[in-house]
């Protein structure tokens, strides 16, 4: 007694589900958009490997590139380490500060990295992971770009390249203070 149309409702009902699954090809389940974009960056005070205090507040008025890394993060952190040092050298006199935060790591291994790549910007361990969680970090490497007003503007998940760093910094530097 079912009309011709009704009986094909089940094969047809399957289609929207298949379309939804197909949509999944365009998304990346591991990419979580950060809710911090546009919001004031969380303040923190850490002690660098060199023993000096590092506080975000101190750099208000300058553009800050905040990089989270670890010695066990292979190969991405190793590949971006020279990029970060290069970026620091290129922009340190233009009102940019590069800060490194080492997460879930052993001091010894971390110092080796700093030495190997001759990082000259302030690098600090993050005991207890407070700063990492404050920035919603869920893996390394992650880099945050903070503008002169102290707001998080961009988040780079995964390794940084010279081009991306340059683009982000130029954008923020171009803004009026």
């Amino acid at each position: 007694m079912k009309t011709r149309w009704v009986r094909f409702s089940i094969p047809l009902a399957v289609v929207p589900v298949l379309l939804l699954l197909a949509y999944g090809f365009w998304t990346n389940p591991r990419e979580i958009p950060s809710p911090l974009i546009g919001k004031p960056a969380a303040k923190f005070t850490l002690t660098s490997f060199a023993g000096d205090p590092v506080s975000l507040e101190r750099y208000r008025g300058r553009v800050v590139m905040l990089n989270f890394w670890a010695s066990w993060c292979r190969p991405a952190c190793y590949e971006e380490a020279p990029v970060i040092e290069r970026t620091w050298q290129a922009y340190r006199d233009k009102g940019v500060v590069v800060l490194g935060v080492d997460v879930q790591d052993q001091d010894e291994a971390a110092r080796k990295i700093i030495e190997q790549f001759q990082h000259s910007f302030p690098n600090s361990p993050d005991p207890g992971g407070h700063v990492a969680v404050d920035y919603g970090v869920y893996g390394v490497p992650e880099t945050f770009f903070i503008d002169r007003q102290g707001r998080v503007r961009f988040k780079q998940v995964g390794e940084l390249t010279d081009a991306i760093a340059r683009e982000r910094l130029e954008t923020l530097l171009a803004e009026k203070p």
Binding site: I32, P33, S34, P35, L36, Q104, G128, G129, H130, A132, V133, D134, Y135, G136, Y138, G139
Partner: protein
């Protein structure tokens, strides 16, 4: 000079006293566990911060503990994590708005299913009862009788 130093030392000790007395409220480990079990471990898949053996989860549990000790309520601690990671950090979506759909849909399906089962059962109950045997004409009936007698012999 010495009495002054002693007095200063005594003052410092006294000042230290009340501070020590006002120690942070004892944190109930069960509350930590409960909050942690509602948060998703960001480095594992599908495990809660309470269950996950990872270092990140351990650090997050520490942060939960500290915030509770500082006097925050469980809801405030949860909100802190949501602020930092987005609604994704909650292991189950809140029962609000669009997310209500996932909570309601299974019960809707169950309800619709029950209705359908009831309809099917009703249809089966009203199915025509066994058809009565077709009326036989007398010739056929006679033939059957004869053949049955043959068999019985």
């Amino acid at each position: 000079m010495t009495p002054l130093l002693v007095a200063a030392a005594a003052l410092v000790l006294l000042a230290g006293g009340p501070a020590r007395a006002a120690s942070p409220p004892a944190v109930n480990e069960e509350t930590v566990h409960e909050i942690a079990s509602q948060l998703r471990c960001v480095v594992c898949q599908s495990l809660s911060v309470a269950d996950s053996p990872s270092e990140t989860a351990s650090q997050m549990r520490g942060i939960i503990r500290e915030r509770l000790a500082a006097g925050e309520t469980p809801a405030q601690v949860r909100d802190y994590f949501v602020d930092k990671y987005g609604p994704w950090i909650l292991l189950s979506p809140p029962r609000r708005g669009f997310d209500l759909l996932v909570w309601v849909a299974p019960f809707l399906v169950l309800g619709i299913g029950l209705v359908m089962v009831a309809l099917v059962v009703r249809r089966w109950r009203r199915a025509p009862s066994r058809v009565s045997p077709p009326a036989l004409d007398s010739a056929v009936r006679e033939r059957i009788r004869r053949e049955m007698e043959e068999l019985d012999r």
